[in-house]
Symmetry: C2
Subunit: 238 residues, 2 copies
Amino acid sequence: MSIQNVKAIVFDTFGTISDWRSSIAREAEIIAAAKGVKDFDGDAFARAWRAGYRPGMKPVITGEREWTPIDVIHREILEEILAPFGLDMLDEAERDHLNRAWHRINPWPDSIPGLIRIKRKHLIAPLSNGSLTLLANMAKRAGIPWDFVFSSDMHKAYKRDPKVYQNAIALLGMEPHEVMMGAAHNDDLEAAREQGMRTGYINRPTEYGVDQTKDFEAESDWDIIADSVEDLAEALGC
Amino acid sequence: MSIQNVKAIVFDTFGTISDWRSSIAREAEIIAAAKGVKDFDGDAFARAWRAGYRPGMKPVITGEREWTPIDVIHREILEEILAPFGLDMLDEAERDHLNRAWHRINPWPDSIPGLIRIKRKHLIAPLSNGSLTLLANMAKRAGIPWDFVFSSDMHKAYKRDPKVYQNAIALLGMEPHEVMMGAAHNDDLEAAREQGMRTGYINRPTEYGVDQTKDFEAESDWDIIADSVEDLAEALGC
C-alpha cells in the first residue's frame, strides 16, 4: 500500500508518544515520600492505575454507560487503588492534583525529534483517548508540536470504537488513505486499517514494564514498522 | 467582572488574528497578473469575496441548509465573482488553489508576539468559522502557536450560533467565566457574553478597508478593550 498520498498523521499518545509509566511513578513517589509512606512502589502504582484504564472505558464503548470523560474514569480508578498503596490520607485537592498527573506525562526521548521532522511535511495531531485539556496541557508542558488536537470528547467515543477514526477522517475532509494512524498498539492500527487508514507501528516493548503481555512487535504487515518516532520519520522520508 | 480566573482564551481568526484582505488581494493579484488580466483590483476582489461570507453562512445558521463546510461556501462565492473580475478562464485546479488562499492568510504583525505572551499563562486556540485543515494549515504556515484548534466542523455550526460557544466551553470542561473570547467583532463578543464567557475586544478598524461600516470601536463594556493582541496580553498581565 502506498504511503505517498498521506497528508496527515494522527498518533496514539499514552504509550506511543508519551511514557506514562515512568511519569506517573515519579509523581506518585514524590507524594508518597511527602506523606511518609514506607516501601512505596511507584512503578507498581502506575501499572495498577493503568490496569483499570481499559476496563474503565469498556462500558462507554459498549454503550452500557453514557459518555464519561477520561479524567472521571482516571479518578474512579485512583479511588480504588489509593488505600491498597497506603495513600488514602490524601485530601480532595491532593487527589485531584494526582489525578491530573496524566496531564503531565512526558514524551519518550525520540517523540519530539521525530514529530518535528514529520511536521515539516504532514499535519500531525494526537488521536487519543485523552480529553482536550489533558492533551493540550501535556503538549504545552512538554513542547509536543501538534498542529491541532483530536480528543476523545470531540468524538464522544473511545478507541477502538470505529466512530473515533471515522470522525477524525471526516473532520480532516480527507480520504481515509490520506490519513495515517501511528500507534504502539496493534489493535489500534487494526481498527484504523478497517476504516481505510494507513498504519504506522511504533514499537514500545517496555511500555507496561513487567505487566506487558502484548505489543512486543508488529503483528501484521503495517504500512510502516518502526522502532521510534524518529524511525517513523525516516521511513516517511521526512 | 473579574478576569482573574480566565484559563483559556479563544480567538476569532478572520479579521482578528489574520488580515484576510491584504492576503487574499495579494494572491488574487498574482494569479490575475499571470493570466494577463488588466486593471485588476485585488483589494476589491478580496472585499467582494468576503461580502458573500455572512450571507453564505446564514442559511446554515438558520437551519434552512444542512451543515456545509466553509471551503464549500468560499468556493460558491468565488464562482460568482470570477467572471465580474475577469478571472473566468481559471481551470478547476486554479480555482481550487485560489479557494485555498483562505488557508494561507497572514496574521496581523502584533498577533504572534501577543499570542506567545498569552500562551505562557493560558491555553490559546482559535474559535473560528474556519475548517480544521484551513485553521491548521494557516497556523502551520505562519507559525501561529495555538495549543489546539476549535473549528466550525467540530461544532457543525457557525458563529453566532450559541451552540459554538457552548460546545467550546463543554469541550474545555471549564466554567464559562474561565474562558475568554477574543474578537474584533462586537457581535461575536455579545454572543460569547450571553453564554457567560469573558470578553476581550481587539480593535481592527481597517479590516474591511473601504467596506468597513462597523466595529470601529468597542460598543460595550467588554472585560478588556485592546488595540492589538499585544495590548490584550498586557491587559491580561502576560
